[in-house]
């Protein structure tokens, strides 16, 4: 009979004999492992290349969006808060999208872009004319000379 104190329990457990592995297990396991290696879609080197390429793609995409943001910030600073032509074009394509199937083709988008650009130009012209009118009035108050 065994004395079962704390350490003896470990020792007693170690005396229990494990069942033997079935015959031919080693060959079967190794054969299937090698077979699966042959069937692998990518070799280790190809896997490295794939990982490097995907990292590069992600880096390029990230850098591109960062540069784009920087560029648009620069344009906004140059235009002093006024909407750029690019914004007008974007509005046109947004409008075309909202209109959906009716005007979604390229021609319609171009037409809308032209219309939007013309409107923007007309607004600018109107502003200039108003400014000139104001200037004329000021000149009239200052002098009696006819500047025309």
């Amino acid at each position: 009979m065994i004395e079962h104190d704390a350490e003896d329990i470990e020792e007693s457990l170690k005396r229990i004999v494990p069942k033997p592995a079935p015959p031919g297990l080693r060959q079967r396991v190794l054969a299937s492992a090698l077979e699966s290696r042959k069937d692998a879609a990518l070799t280790p080197r190809m896997r490295i290349v794939a990982i490097v390429c995907s990292i590069l793609i992600v880096a390029i995409l990230g850098a591109d969006s960062l540069l784009g943001r920087h560029e648009s910030a620069q344009i906004a600073a140059l235009l002093d808060g006024r909407p750029s032509v690019r914004a007008v074009a974007e509005d046109a394509s947004d409008l075309a999208e909202v209109m959906g199937g009716q005007c979604a083709d390229e021609d319609a988008v171009k037409r809308l872009q032209i219309m939007a650009a013309t409107t923007a130009r007309k607004n600018q012209e109107r502003n200039i004319i108003e400014a000139r009118k104001g200037l004329k009035g000021w000149l009239e108050n200052e002098s009696f000379e006819n500047i025309d």
């Binding site: 009979m1 457990l13 069942k19 492992a33």
Partner: protein, 189 residues
């Protein structure tokens, strides 16, 4: 011209020899791995799954995984803990596949399939038989930790890595398990 041909065929021969040597090295690595851990992994899987046939299937799957892990092996710091962890995960995957996700998950959590009886020869000595029966009655997580510690000689840190718990938890579960076994065996005496 003739000598050029000889050189070319010589180069090709060298290339094929190199390739064959590389393949042989890979094979040796897998063989080495099997010689080191194959039998103990099989025994562990029999213990986990309660069936020698299922254990063999899972062992094959596990080694297929090792064969595909050519790169990952370079990053592995403790191969023994790693192989047991991979085998354990593969056994869990097998149970989910076999029983369906929900039932498989239940089985994994309860450890209902886990048992010493399938992995060990029934001892002739009555005291050892009693010990084995009492060990069988322990909660699944204690049983598994006792198995890994006593029969595979894993450290608590390695067991913690295999089971995804802390080393302290592994150690305390081991001690609780052994204390329960001692109580059960002494009570019976």
């Amino acid at each position: 011209m003739n000598s050029g041909k000889i050189d070319k065929s010589g180069l090709e021969k060298g290339h094929y020899q190199q390739k064959a040597q590389k393949e042989k090295r890979r094979l040796l690595k897998l063989e080495e791995l099997y010689d080191r851990h194959g039998e103990s992994l099989h025994r562990y899987l029999v213990f986990r799954l309660g069936s020698a046939e299922d254990a063999e299937d899972v062992l094959q799957e596990t080694f297929c995984r090792f064969a595909r892990y050519a790169l990952r092996w370079r990053l592995v710091r403790n191969p023994q803990a790693f192989v047991f962890r991979v085998a354990r995960n593969e056994a869990n995957r097998f149970l989910r596949r076999k029983l369906g996700h929900r039932e498989g998950e239940k089985m994994i959590l309860s450890g209902a399939a886990t048992g010493f009886a399938a992995a060990f020869v029934a001892p002739e000595e009555p005291s050892l038989g009693l010990l084995l029966r009492r060990a069988e009655e322990l909660p699944a997580e204690q049983k598994e930790i006792i198995f890994l510690k006593v029969f595979d000689g894993l450290t608590f840190k390695e067991i913690a890595s295999v089971r995804g718990i802390s080393a302290n938890t592994a150690a305390s579960r081991y001690r609780y398990g052994l204390a329960k076994l001692r109580e059960a065996v002494e009570g019976k005496k």
